[in-house]
Symmetry: C2
Subunit: 297 residues, 2 copies
């Protein structure tokens, strides 16, 4: 089964309005919560990343999910399952990486158990006071699509690593992404309307497609307006890295007043994501994306 089919099964059983966005918004408690896992040889390889980098990224991907909701990231808990041969140094470096990624966000608990491979599951909690919380259901025709920064670097870095390189221009972008705290805050603490926001960790096109699907709209994107590092043009199929590559941890939002953000398109009546003359359906986007159950990196 594919991840997205599992999620549909879970939604049906739980019949919960909370499942859908990356964070669950718990209004009565004034918080959002998100939980994401990283599994050895699927999400990271010890051959590619140092323990410090694994810790750094594990924290950052969850902080990024809180940023996507518009809430203020405040606390993290971490559950690790570790093989017997893991050393004290690994644990130390992992936690140093997590701590550095966290900045003022506090790591407040977790759990350690045994396992054959390394499993990391992080929960992040954000405070919603003074912020308006996003939902991917909120895009409306007439809104602009804005992004927080360049795309393609995460996937370009992975391409470098997979080709055997351990030094490369984009490797750091892949191993140590940065969550977009300021972009998130600037939007969520000022906006007066409901808006959609997601991070692009699974690919810019995935985020756009999820917003289009959940909101029942067409997102009309101008590829030439998507910011990216020109050196990515050296990679084969570089447009795919930018659109479908993932691991960028930028934010994409649909809102009426784009202020001084980078506008890459607009929300229209219809369904799907339009790039140039082609409209990608949800299924077509999914076919281009990486799926953990089919292909292990």
């Amino acid at each position: 089964m594919k991840e997205k089919d599992f999620i549909q099964t879970i939604k049906t059983i739980l019949n919960s309005g909370y499942i859908g966005d990356d964070c669950a918004y718990l209004k009565d408690l004034g918080i959002v919560v998100t939980q994401d896992s990283l599994v050895e040889d699927i999400h990271f390889k010890r051959d590619f990343a140092t323990p410090y980098q694994i810790g750094y990224k594990s924290a950052m991907v969850n902080i990024s999910d809180v940023c996507a909701s518009g809430a203020e990231p405040k606390y993290l808990t971490a559950a690790l399952s570790l093989p017997e041969n893991i050393t004290k140094e690994f644990v130390e470096e992992f936690y140093k990486g997590m701590k550095d990624a966290c900045g003022n966000i506090e790591i407040v608990g977790g759990d350690i158990t045994g396992s054959d491979k390394i499993f990391i599951s992080i929960t992040a909690i954000g405070k919603t006071a003074g912020r308006r919380i996003s939902s991917r259901k909120n895009a409306k025709p007439g809104q602009k699509i804005v992004v927080s920064g360049p795309h393609g670097a995460g996937a370009a870095g992975l391409t470098e690593l997979l080709s055997g390189k351990r030094v490369g221009k984009f490797i750091k972008a892949h191993l140590m992404p940065e969550a977009q705290l300021e972009f998130s805050k600037k939007i969520s603490s000022n906006i007066q309307e409901d808006y959609a926001m997601m991070d692009t960790s699974d690919g810019l096109m995935d985020a756009l497609s999820q917003i289009a699907e959940a909101s029942g709209v067409l997102l009309d994107i101008d590829f030439n307006k998507i910011p990216y590092d020109k050196e990515i043009e050296k990679f084969e199929n570089y447009k795919d890295l930018i659109l479908f590559g993932g691991e960028d941890y930028q934010l994409v939002a649909a809102l009426t007043d784009p202020q001084d953000f980078t506008v890459i398109g607009e929300v229209k009546e219809g369904r799907g994501v339009k790039i140039g003359q082609k409209i990608y359906t949800k299924d077509e986007v999914e076919k281009h994306l990486f799926n953990h159950f089919e292909e292990k990196k």
Copy 2:
């Protein structure tokens, strides 16, 4: 390395006052949070438990941790890592079990990824309003030690399973424990003093020893006052099942007014846990406990 050494390493790096209790108490948000993992062949076996039972227990162990804090369990998130051959039916049954364990507690999110073995990590969030939150540091000489119910059934059930039985008096206690919501609420919503409370999931003696160590006190326990099912006496070393067995998910608390709770001992000046004439140091208790890194169930 042992789990407890890892935790010491983590405490040193994070230099955090939050690490220590099973839940982190986030006062500014009015919540507690806890995260615990269950790994296939370490915490459960598919040969022993149905998917429904695995889901049920996964939720319950985290609800139990919130109960140990005294907070009101409100929300759960679940991260699953599943092998490719896992069926839709497994996921359905797992979530039905989680949902039934939750009752009014809502499952609000999570994550599914691939892996070789099943890895489950659950986060539970509790609301602290109207409750006084416990800490294992809070035991003081003069307080009584109370328990919420009988001990030994969880370990007796595991003994039955390991001996090849699939039907047995104590198997359900092992596979489908019940968190002690009422005992927790009764204490935390009325008590006027700081108090210590833990669940006994890692063994009654572990909980007692952790409270003794964190509070710098001696817990003087009368074994004859510990409630247990008399049929457990049929098991070899039945006293060890009751004291060190674990998987009971009862609560143990140190407080001044025991009301009508079952008193099993009292808090005194000193260090360690006294049973009869023997005082167990922290190290002696740990030697008797199950350690995930040494011995796989």
